[in-house]
Amino acid sequence: MKPTSHAFSANAHDALQDRDLQRALKLMETGFSAGRRTAVARLPEFDELCEQGRAIKNHVLEHLDFYLERFEGEVVARGGFVHWCATPREACETILSLCRSVRAKTVTKGKSMVAEEIGLNPFLEANGIEPVETDLGEYIIQLADQSPSHIIAPAVHLTTDQISDLFLEHHREHGKTKRLTEPQEMVGEAREILRERYFQADVGITGANFLIAETGTTIIVTNEGNGDLTQMLPRMHIVISSIEKVLPTLEDAWTILRVLARSATGQDISCYTTFSTGPKRAEDLDGPAEFHIVLLDNGRSSMLGSELQDALRCIRCGACMNSCPVYQSVGGHAYGWVYPGPIGAAIDPFFIGLKEAHDLPAASSFCGACESVCPMKIPLPKIMRHWREKAFEEKITPVPQRAGMLIWAWFARRVTFYRLATRVAAGLFGLLGRRRGRFSRLPFAAGWTAGRDLPAPEGSTFHDLWSARARKPPA
């Protein structure tokens, strides 16, 4: 997708004024964060499982070449195929030629963020193949011609009302003319329509949460069962995934699966966890005759050994965005590319360039909520800080911010001037604000004071207070 991350500031401004979006985002605290806390609280071993999961991922990344080769060998031994793709373009073309090999007209799709990353749907459409999203959230945004705003709840930005309108508009061609407003009925209608599509599809495309080196297995988790119908009914199953998703053994997968659903939706486990190994066997009564795995790099191999290596541990649970005050205020679309929220702020600049995405790591107060809920303990604020430094070094940071930083840095490196300047400023502002105790307007900070007042300093600096305190120890 064409990024709009450069317009983050304007996007965020619009998002804050969008009443439907704000209504939809309000549900997130009870919908996600509270559920996560409950699920974590009832598994005393949760933190230790996270720690072990983190260690497994780190071990894999250090030996990634070994585990990928091992995985490939097992897939081939089971009669499957692995297609290596360095770029999104290669991945799209590989999938297209696989679809063409079975003369596919329609493909059903399970939810896949990698498919979003490579822009698969527009590519297939441009080449005469109709992709049908089957995850209900993805189906909704496909009808709305939008991109996902959340990595596990793609339509979280839409209200029930908006979805009612979409269904009325698009389900008319299926003979559905009543505007439904109850989620239960709406899900029923979408189920009926999508059921047809599963049987029409020539190819089923799913993502993978994990790839298992031990057995050549790919794993998906869903609650709807759409990923399963997608892969078991058509004659060809294509898995689109990326190279960092490999794990050594099935046991390792279960360690991380134990923290995945709890972090994502607050469930102990998703309804369906499916292990797929090779194509259907000679004696099987159903399943796909062909099994292909399209493995995307898209620069991940260059993230190894860099400040970004830790981000490759991500299991795409979404806990970071569910806990992020910025995400919860502006939603996912404001970020302007595939991965929103804190993980997006950490990895989007790599994929689409810092020039395009420099606002994303800047849009954080470094409250640290994301890192504290991340089951893979990715140091997200640290990675965002890395991007900020790089943006400054490369002179991408806007001029007023750069100037401010340079002035501050000049003083910060000269202790005497710094103390003098802060003492003068604290005294002056203390004097000016002593009547009201706060400022409603300040020069150069109109944006900041538009929404809140700045409390007036009381006359002395932190350094002065600290020294006074040191001279007079508390009783």
């Binding site: 899900v187 189920r191 046991e251 939706t265 309804c271 004696e283 260059s302």
Partner: protein, 231 residues
Amino acid sequence: MSARDRIFANIRGSLGRGPLPAPLVAELEAKIAAHAPNLIPERSRLAHDQQIELFVRMAQEAGATFSRLGSRAAVPRAVLEFLNANTVPPELRLSPDRELDRIPWSAQRELNVTRGRARRDDLTSVTPSFAAIAETGTLVFVSGAERPATLNFLPDNHIVVLDAHDVVGPYEDVLTKLRAAGSPDCFMPRTVNFVTGPSRTADIALTIVRGAHGPRRLHIILIETELRDAL
């Protein structure tokens, strides 16, 4: 250079090394062969009868319903009762499975029983379960000649016949069971489905709705006394 070669060269370049030395490869292979379990939560470390109760509790929490029976002979009647209670026609699509064939289906004349993979309009399936996991109330289904995976997903109602002795504590016990049941060169069937409760979604305004694409109802028939007879 192929994409594969480029990717591997780049991985090694970024890690600042060449291909791994043979002794290290052997060590990593041995680690896979050992497939040692990691931390297993205490939750399911219980006596077997308590594991069964934990399984029932967790599966109910996920939205499954139960018939707890003393013998296979009682299964057809329990199935009919479930169908009647939910006003579902008495038509069953069964896994063509030897275990299920031991059930006296003809005892209930109303039941119309066919066997095979799921067809488009089948409303109710009956399948055996390979195992059940107490830790989270999870059923395990393996694909094979007698167990088509479509039966686990296409019909609206999924009825599962589970022997109580197939209930285990944690997920790792199922992996052990899979390794023991399969052939040594490939113990994994094409599909292993871990199923916890009926299908659901929260994609409309985070409201949880059952019956998204998979079964709307998951009914587990737990057969218990044969366990005691066997002991």
